[in-house]
Amino acid sequence: MTVQFDLEAEIQRLLTEHDRIAEQGITVHRRENVVVLGGEVESAERRDEICRQITGRFPEIEITCDIGITRAQAPSEVEEIS
C-alpha cells in the first residue's frame, strides 16, 4: 500500500518539478497495474513529453496517457453578471 502511494506521489512531483514538464494539473490514478494520467495541457508536445518522461522513469509500470489538449476556440456566448 505504501509503495502505491509513494509511486503516485513520485509521479506527481516529477510532473511538477521536472523542468521540461512543470504541470500541476495532471491527475495520477492507479487502476490494477496500470497508472492512468489525466487532465489537460496546452499542447500536444507537452502531452507527449509527459508520457516520454514518465515511461522513461518508470519503465516497469504500464502507463496510460489520457491527457487532453485544452481547446482554444473563441466563445459564442456572454454571461451577464448581476
Partner: protein
C-alpha cells in the same frame, strides 16, 4: 454595458504561440478588455514572458493581468513584469487600474494572492517561523488587495487574482490541496469593497461559479475549466439601459 473577456492558466511557452491568436483576433468584436488571471507562463522566464506578450499583446483592447505561481518559478517575476509592461500589458500586484469603456469607468484591482485554506480548515499564523511566514504572506497580500479594491473610484469594480477567494470554485479538486489553491482572506478583501465580479484561476480541475460570503459572484477562469480561449462577462447592463434615455 461593459464586456470583459477573461482566462487564466494559459501557461505560454514557444509551443503555445499561435494557438490562441485566431480567437484573440475576434476578441475586440466580443469584449472591451481582456483580463488574465495568472500562470501566464510555464516557468516564469523572460523568454516565456515574451512568448506570452507575442500571443496576448498587440490587441485592439486593453490587457490586464496578474502573475501566478508559475510566473514566480524562476525568481524572475520582476523581469517578467517588465517584459509584459514593455508590451503594453498592465500587470497588477496589490494595485489597481481604471479603464474608460463606453463612457464607464471599469476598475480592476489585482493580486496574485496565496494559499492558506478556507473557513474551518485553514492555516493559522502560529508556530514555526516558516508557518508564520506562509500565513503572514497570505494575510499581507489579502490586506493590500483589500486596500487596492477600496481605493478605486469606478462604475464597476472587478477583483483579479490567481489564487481562489472561495472554496466553491475549487469543487473538483482534491479537498487535501484546497489550502494550496486559495484562502478565505481573499474573499474577505473582495467583500470589503463594492466588488461586482471576482475572477481567479489556478484550480485547473475546479468549477466555474461561486460566490463570496458577501455575495460577490466569483468565476474560476482557468483555461482547463472554461475550455475555450476566454469567457466573456457582461457588467452594468441595467445602468446602460437606463442611460439610453438622454439626461
Amino acid at each position: 454595458m461593459i464586456r470583459i473577456a477573461a482566462v487564466g492558466d494559459v501557461h505560454v511557452d514557444k509551443d503555445v504561440v499561435g494557438r490562441y491568436r485566431p480567437a484573440l483576433e475576434q476578441l475586440p468584436d466580443r469584449a472591451d478588455a481582456l483580463l488574465i488571471a495568472g500562470d501566464l507562463t510555464r516557468h516564469g522566464t523572460p523568454d516565456e514572458a515574451k512568448c506570452f506578450a507575442t500571443e496576448f499583446g498587440g490587441l485592439a483592447v486593453p490587457v490586464v493581468v496578474v502573475l501566478g505561481n508559475h510566473d514566480h518559478q524562476s525568481d524572475q517575476q520582476q523581469q517578467v513584469t517588465e517584459v509584459l509592461t514593455d508590451a503594453g500589458i498592465t500587470v497588477l500586484e496589490c494595485s489597481s487600474t481604471v479603464l474608460e469603456i463606453n463612457g464607464h469607468r471599469l476598475g480592476i484591482a489585482g493580486a496574485k494572492g496565496f494559499g492558506g485554506g478556507f473557513a474551518g480548515a485553514c492555516a493559522s499564523n502560529f508556530g514555526e517561523r516558516e508557518m508564520k511566514d506562509f500565513v503572514g504572506t497570505t494575510e499581507d497580500i489579502a490586506d493590500r488587495l483589500g486596500e487596492s479594491l477600496r481605493s478605486v473610484r469606478c462604475d464597476a469594480l472587478v477583483a483579479l487574482t490567481h489564487y481562489a477567494p472561495v472554496p466553491e470554485t475549487l469543487a473538483g479538486e482534491p479537498l487535501e490541496i484546497y489550502p494550496f489553491l486559495g484562502c478565505y482572506q481573499l474573499g474577505n478583501a473582495i467583500d470589503s469593497a463594492p466588488t461586482a465580479l471576482a475572477l481567479h484561476g489556478h484550480a485547473h480541475h475546479g468549477s466555474e461559479r461561486g460566490r463570496t460570503p458577501g455575495g460577490v459572484p466569483v468565476r474560476n477562469v482557468a483555461h482547463p475549466v472554461i475550455k475555450q480561449a476566454y469567457n466573456v462577462y457582461q457588467l452594468l447592463s441595467e445602468t446602460v439601459d437606463s442611460q439610453l434615455v438622454p439626461a
